[in-house]
């Protein structure tokens, strides 16, 4: 029996093999959305818990990677909704693409503030599209909506951000 068939049938060893194959990728996807390494670890475990819970719904001929990414996106989105009321901003994920030090600290804080207070469904797609530069069709598949709707949400997120930034005195274009 193939690995995915064994997993769908409830074989724990098959689940462990899939977990070890995909945990890094699932984590990497989640951390792009929530932007906090500790929370991303928790949500990776939560994602695989859901994967295990709903294993019987998985078609062994289907694409496990895409299915896992969809569940991971839902778990991350649930977190964004719950965490929205918290005022603390996520940690800086310093790396090779770290934020521009030339931009004034105050301006950066305003931009972060505006971005992290976007409504979660806009923040989700805006993070993936504008910051992580993921293609619209990949985002659409992960979120479970059409690419057209992703584009629409990005457009709305940009409008909200522009309005917020202009009200904070950050020059963010004409409209």
């Amino acid at each position: 029996m193939e690995l995915l068939e064994r997993f769908a049938a409830g074989d724990l060893e098959a689940f462990e093999a899939l977990f070890r194959q995909h945990q890094k990728e699932v984590y990497a996807w989640i951390v792009r959305i929530v932007r906090d390494t500790g929370i991303a670890e928790d949500l990776t475990v939560e994602t695989f818990w859901r994967i295990h819970k709903y294993r019987a719904r998985f078609d062994p001929n289907g694409n496990f990677r895409a299915w896992a990414r969809r569940i991971a996106t839902n778990a991350a989105f649930d977190h964004l909704r719950k965490a929205r009321r918290e005022t603390e901003l996520p940690e800086d994920l310093a790396g090779p693409g770290a934020a521009d030090p030339a931009v004034r600290r105050e301006t950066r804080e305003h931009i972060k503030q505006a971005f992290f207070h976007l409504p979660p469904r806009y923040r989700l797609v805006a993070t993936l599209a504008l910051i992580e530069e993921e293609p619209y069709n990949k985002i659409a598949e992960a979120v479970g909506i059409s690419a057209g709707l992703v584009k629409m949400r990005v457009y709305r997120a940009v409008r909200i951000l522009r309005k917020q930034l202009n009200s904070m005195g950050v020059e963010a274009g004409a409209r």
């Binding site: 945990q23 990497a28 991303a40 475990v45 695989f48 790396g95 804080e109 972060k112 971005f115 504008l130």
Partner: protein, 77 residues
């Protein structure tokens, strides 16, 4: 200014403030935590949320106290 230009401008502004996280890597194996979670909260397929049970109880009570509603319910099924 069209959508693409709008997006590009905001994208640049965002990238100055928020670093992409595409280089963040998982630094440890999460399998031991996964096993603990499975032991604490078995992911049983048969688990039914409490509100489903509440809905079933309400429906049952309606059928018991108002048996006349059964034909109407069957009609709508």
């Amino acid at each position: 200014m069209n959508n693409e230009e709008n997006n590009k401008e905001i994208k640049e502004l965002l990238k100055q403030a928020i670093a992409p996280a595409r280089h963040a890597e998982l630094r440890r194996d999460l399998w031991p935590r996964m096993l603990r979670k499975l032991e604490e909260q078995p992911a049983a397929m048969g688990a039914v949320p409490w509100f489903d049970w509440a809905l079933a109880a309400v429906l049952g009570a309606v059928l018991v106290f108002f048996p006349g509603s059964i034909p109407a319910l069957l009609y709508h099924l």
